[in-house]
Amino acid sequence: MNLQYIGLKKINGPLIFLDNVKGIGFEEMVEIRLENGSVRHGRVVEINGDLAAILVFEGTRDLSLNNTVIKFTGKPMELGLSKNILGRVFNGIGHPIDDLGPVYVEKYLDINGEPLNPVSRLYPKNYINTGISSIDGLTTLIRGQKLPIFSGSGMPHNELAVQIVKQAKLTGSDASNFSIVFAAMGVTNDVANYFRRSFEEAGVLDNVVMYLNLSNDPIIERLLTPRCALTAAEYLAYQHNKHILVVMTDMTAYCEALREFSSSKGEIPGRKGYPGYLYSDLASLLERAGIVKTASGSVTQIPILSMPNDDITHPIPDLTGYITEGQIVLERELHMQGIYPPIGVLPSLSRLMKDGIGAGFTREDHQPLMNQLFASYSRVMDARSLASVIGEDELSPADKNYMEFGRLFEKHFISQGFVNRDIKDTLDLGWNLLSVLPKEELDRTEEKILDKFYDHEKAYYRFELNKNLYIKELKKEEH
């Protein structure tokens, strides 16, 4: 049923209102044709009897009450898909912008998707080797996981995302089955180009689909961009058995678009003006990751968000953290010290790693090593805060030991640059670092593991520890 109406009753921000409409469905898509022939797209967001409110994705600029023809399409927004989308570039509402013409369509899918039945999911267990120690070792990425990067303006989140994409593609027997879906929301041309160039350098461009809503594109359109990207990802994963890595940036811009929509609709705002349903809305995107029983593909998500004021309790990172299966947090302090990647390991977490590491996956000692590194590094923080009060010289020998361990851990383990490090090397490095500390300090680890992996001598030589070997000094003083 294709209904057409001429003229509007009211325009308010990105919303237009029509009256005397009949037979339209909630959340149906509409096309808005202007006098000059251009077409915009909208969605029915509320119906009150014969009055309909429509959200115009490209904005309402230049619209007047009588220069438009509204056509109701009779269905929610659908995206035309086939394997030919690989290698193509689309705008934020899924129209090709790479001058290669329309794509062949095998199937149309509703971009809103439908909730996956938990019974149809397979619990994700296969780890993705990213070659980055602080991720592989401490916040392992699992295929089918949603693991965001919490960043801030000016920090190297894009570099990190690209490094993950480049290095992750190299491993595993299904490497050839690996594709990337990239969604940009409100990022600059430079950033989009950076990703494009990097995909090209990595030789994967033919396996990348891009949906771009850049900073100068219509704001409300951003509400559709991640949905297009995820619909494409699900299609490729569940119908063509591909392993899809979805990179979405910047989720903060997405949320701001949602806030704008909500306030123009006159909804009661929640924290910082964001709508009360921000959690549910984000979940409707982020839950579209996973593995299902009926296909051998997977959807893994790496959303990137910039934390306003680096504040992790801001509603956007806060609600995201409640939905995702962990987070990789970048820290400005590390970044300022020139450490790359500046991953703050303590607040970072991967919830799915516990079943994807250890014997048979990475190595038997992975879990205990990880626990001990976290515990020891958090002791470093205590020592540092004490040192900032009484001065490092006044610290007890044990605390001095932790200070040294902290420096070495940041220098060797976190700071890695753009090298690709094998998981075995990451784990060995972790033990070498822990072996800087006296064995008794490793109180989270079972004795039999320590017997196998603790080696103070080795640490002493590898890191060229200070001549007055701390551990001997400690013993001396006590006797």
């Binding site: 619990y123 579209r288 801001h314 509603p315 806060d318 879990q367 007890s396 013993k475 006590e478």
Partner: protein, 581 residues
Amino acid sequence: MNEVYSINGPVIKVKNANNFHIMEKVFVGKKKLLGEVISINDDHTVIQVYESTTGLMPGEEVICTGESISAVLGPGLLGNIFDGIQRPLHAIYKQDGIFIKPGTNVPCLDMEKEWEVDLKVKVGDPMRFGQIFGVIQETSLIKHRLLIPKNISGDVIMVKPNGSYKPEEVLLKIKDKNDNIHEVTMIQKWPIKEPRPIRDRLSLSIPLVSGQRVIDTLFPIAKGGSAAVPGGFGTGKTMMQHQFAKWCDADIIVYIGCGERGNEMTQTLEEFSELIDPKSNKPLIERTVLIANTSNMPVAAREASIYTGVTIAEYYRDMGYHVALMADSTSRWAEALREISGRLEEMPAEEGFPAYLPSRIAQFYERAGYVKTYSDKLGSVSIIGAISPQGADFSEPVTQNTKRFVRAFWALDKELAYARHYAAINWNLSYSEYIGDLSKWYNKQVGVGFLEARQKFITILAEENKLMEIVKLIGKDVLPDDQKLILEIARVIRVGYLQQNAFHKDDTFVPLEKQLKMMNLILYLERVANNVIREGKAFSLLLNTNMFEKVIKVKYDIPNDNLDLFDDYYKMIDDAFGAIK
């Protein structure tokens, strides 16, 4: 005909209707979406729809049913997984594939399955609500006791012989005093927002033992009690709920995933099907009912999921079982209330939550209790609710209001979680008001020493707290040796006792007997060390014995089934400290 007039997300309005009643179940539109009447005035009726309203049009029909949204109760609940409005997810998967579609219509329970029924009544027996009339072996773990449904009382005039029957077959006929004849099957419906009645509420005196040291020892919950677990993201609420679901000594577990992750429910389902209950040697899933209304499922059904779950819990309680209910997370439920309330343009109270939030929270936790049932048995429902406070700030309305209605509060702490001290329960902020009621039980069942040791632990942790104020300013080195010892023993308590590794085969569940032995060992270490220091020997010499580390690792080194090994440690301590010159 009643027609849809307006549509705003999950909220629709019907104009000029007069035949609806509040909380009535309705079917909306061509797809027959499930809905519930939430308000009525002379102009219009407001309905919340439990499924996606995309594509719904004004003018589509709204059908009344005359009944409230109800849970369907009967055999087949255990081992199953449902969404928030009790639609069976396995059956939906078989019918519709990997996605859940609106308007899906599958019976809640398998109505074709035959059950072996042992009928316990005979013609002439007088029957009333809640009495047991038959028994079915529902899973190898649990006998399903069939209960007389509500509003039925009278004499049995017909009873089927024992045998196998389908759920909807009539097993019993009862004639009431007005000569009306009631047919009874295995199935009964119960409105989810109405608590099932009980004969008597009893006082709480038995703990729900979880094998989690920090809970059982410091902040226990009683059977029939309620507890809240607030914590920022990633602090371990879900892990704590899972640990309870796996190990606590309830007969039945109802686990509600309310607005949380799909993968977590899949994990629960997979893990519980494989995990073997140590007591019965059967898969844990056989005592478990799962309700999964994940965050991307319709928000109104999220609100219902809590009630569906607690109704099922009460039903098993009424058969004489101890049921533990986990709700993860009640914040998502409260947010569903807020979202619906917002769409209704109700006047918001704190942070946009409706003014009735506290009373809804109270009503939910009030459904916990230790009771005498109408089947004259003892049963209980214990409720453990997770809370996900915005920005991990406990001053927000859901945490604050929940605190008023629960008596155990397990505050999860971001700093502890960052240091990977799990369970990240902050011992300074957490509390349990049940300890007094449970003391008799502990003294009798575990030994008088248990609560005494507990008290000593609390004292040491409090002293550590005080000393840390000083240490933060001047460092540890300047403290006198006896205070250094306090800090060291507190560390042994924190790392060796409170911290517990859910992924370690022995440490994941620790029986009370071992908890007591561990506490006694730590306190013995403290006493002996104290004596050595009083003799004037340097604290550093004690450290060099490595005994503190040894005791910390007792949790791994002494398996749960070989507690005799504890004796060796006493000797080790004596020898090591005795050797100090």
